[in-house]
Amino acid sequence: MKDKNEQIDLLLERNTTEQLQTVDWDRLNAAISGRLDQARQRKTPWTCRSTAFKIAAGLVAAAATVLLVVLVRTDTPTGMRFENGGRAVVEFIESKGSASIQIRPIAAKSQVSIDIGGSCREVAKCNIEIIDVKQEQQKNGRRPTWIIIRMPEPVLADNGTSRDEMDLMCLL
C-alpha cells in the first residue's frame, strides 16, 4: 500500500518537475507584470479621486458583482417583475438539467428558493432583476425571460461541476 502511495507521489512529482523545467520564467514574469499594469490602469482613476469618492468606490468594489444569467421559462405575463413573488422553471443554457426557482420579495432584496433535481432545496438572498424577452408566446404558454442574479464575487470562488449549477449553487 505504502509503495503504491509513494509511486503515485513520485509520478506526480516527476511530472510536475519535468513540466516546470520547460517553463520560461522570464516570460511568465513578464506576462504577469503586463497584466498587473493593465489591472493598475483600471484602478488608477479610482485612486485619483477625493477621499469620499474613494470610500464610496471602495464600497462598490467590495460588493463587486457578477452577473449570473440563466434562461427562465415562465408563464407570467409580460412586464411582470416579481414584485409579488413568483415561480419559474430554470432551464440551464450551458448544461443539461433543470431547476425550479421561487422568488419572494423581502425588504431590499429578494429571497430565492431553488430546487435542483427535486432533491436539493436551499434559500438565498440576492439582488434579482427580471428582463422579459420580447418574443412571441410559445405553444405551451411559456415565454423566455432572462433573470439576472447579482452576487458578490467571493461567493463564486469555489465552484461546482457545472457553470450553471455552480452559479445557482453559489447563491446558497
Binding site: K4, N5, Q7, I8, D9, L11, L12, E13, N15, T16, E18, Q19, L20, T22, V23, D24, W25, L28, N29, A31, I32, S33, R35, L36, A39, R40, K43, T47, A62, E94, S95, A157, D158, N159, G160, T161, S162, R163, M166
Partner: protein, 187 residues
C-alpha cells in the same frame, strides 16, 4: 526561492504592507518570490504547465486587486495559495466541461533528446495525469497538490482548504486511492 520551498524571508510582511499601500514594485517582488512555488502547486493540480501558467497569472491578478483586504500580511502565502487553488479548480472544471484537449505547446515540450517512442510515452503520461486529476473532487485535487509543496505544514494545508487537518489528510488518502486506479497502467 526554490519552487518547492517556503519563503522564509522576514521581508514578506514588509512587502505585503507596502503593496497594500500601493507600492507596485513591492508586489512585483512578491510575484518573483512566489511564482515558482505557486506554479509548482498549479502544475501539480492541473497536470499541465500551459493551463497552470494561465491560472498563476489570473491568481496573481486577483491577489493584486484584493491585497488590500488581507488583514494579516504574514498570512500572505496561505491567502495566495487559497486564491490560486480556487482559480485552478475553476479552470479544471471548465476544462472538464469542454472536454478540452489542449495540446502541449512546443516550448513546453521541447524534449528533443528523447526518441519518438519516448516522446509519445511522455505525452501519454502527461495526458493521463491531467485527465486523472480532472476526475478528482475539488477537495481531493487541492489536497494532493498542496501536500506536494515542501515546507507547507498540514495545518497550513488545512487552512488553505478551509477544513480540519484530519479532513485534509482524508482527501489526500482518497485522491491517492483514485489515482492508483486511474494511473495503474503507468505505475
Amino acid at each position: 526561492m526554490n519552487d518547492g520551498q517556503k519563503a522564509n524571508t522576514s521581508d514578506i510582511e514588509r512587502l505585503v504592507k507596502a503593496s497594500q499601500a500601493g507600492d507596485r514594485n513591492s508586489f512585483d517582488k512578491l510575484v518573483r518570490l512566489y511564482q515558482r512555488r505557486v506554479m509548482r502547486m498549479a502544475v501539480r493540480m492541473l497536470g499541465n504547465a500551459n493551463e497552470a501558467t494561465e491560472v498563476v497569472q489570473a491568481g496573481f491578478i486577483k491577489a493584486y486587486l484584493g491585497i488590500g483586504k488581507l488583514r494579516q500580511p504574514k498570512q500572505f502565502e496561505i491567502w495566495l495559495l487559497r486564491i490560486v487553488t480556487n482559480v485552478a479548480i475553476s479552470r479544471a472544471r471548465a476544462a472538464k466541461r469542454r472536454a478540452e484537449k489542449v495540446k502541449v505547446a512546443g516550448y513546453y515540450d521541447n524534449k528533443n533528446n528523447l526518441s519518438p517512442v519516448e516522446r509519445a510515452s511522455t505525452r501519454e503520461l502527461k495526458e493521463a495525469i491531467k485527465q486523472a486529476m480532472l476526475k478528482l473532487s475539488k477537495k481531493e485535487a487541492k489536497a494532493i497538490a498542496l501536500f506536494g509543496l515542501k515546507d507547507l505544514s498540514h495545518r497550513e494545508v488545512s487552512e488553505i482548504m478551509g477544513c480540519s487537518v484530519e479532513a485534509a489528510r482524508w482527501h489526500v488518502f482518497q485522491a491517492r486511492q483514485k489515482l492508483k486506479g486511474l494511473l495503474k497502467d503507468h505505475l
